[in-house]
Amino acid sequence: MSTTETTESGIGPVEGAGELSGYSPENPAPVIEPPRKRTTKTPKSTRGNFEMYGWLFMRLSGIVLVVLVIGHLLIQLVLDGGVSKIGFAFVAGRWASPFWQTWDLLMLWLAMLHGANGLRTIINDYAERPNTRLWLKGLLYTATVFTILLGTLVIFTFDPNIR
């Protein structure tokens, strides 16, 4: 039986990689060096790893957002009468607690940064002219900074006795 069929990797059996290929653990195939492999002679990259951190951030923030956003939907739309109960008094009741203030603050920042980074990717994908990209991203970053600052300000300065 071919050894490739019981492999634990994510790649399925590879055609021609069985015993017929002539290679075995005793007679391994020659190692092929990846064409763009970094070696000690490769000059140091000047670009940094921004895109990799962005990619990682989408995944890490996504996991946290599952809890924050689905919890938020349950509280606001499902439990305790659903949307009908929401009003100034309900908001005042929840933001009296630092726990829910922190919850909402974290949700605001993570969702805005996650969404903005997602939209940045989409602009990069579809807007081809440099000027279009510049303007769309400028608009995106302006709206993002504005929304995050406004939301943060509202959570921190909320006053239940405003009137």
């Binding site: 990797s9 994510g10 790649i11 997602g118 939209l119 509202v154």
Partner: protein
Amino acid sequence: MPAGTLYRGREGMWSWVAHRVTGVLIFFFLFVHVLDTALVRVSPEAYDTVVATYKTPLVALLEYGLVAAILFHALNGLRVIAVDFWAKGPRYQKQMLWTVVGVWLVLMIGALYPVLGHAVREVFGS
């Protein structure tokens, strides 16, 4: 498949399209949602007036659509993470997509009454 395109069709491409569309929708809603919530700094009346529109039957239907978008994006996002970090993820991506769709359907049926119940009572009388 037309020449010169990277699009491959089938489950992998369509789930990606749906993830992208829902992501954009959620972002635009979030922008509006932060603005309407900011009205609590204006006056209780201003806030309650705007929230009253969220309770109308038509907007309840939009809310149900928003819940649909968020639940799909969240569940499929977890699938994308599994494809990227779990060694067998790429092999099971299709099965995971159908699991996502199944869980999504169950949750959407569960959300019917809580999200739309009040709208149905209003339209058809309680």
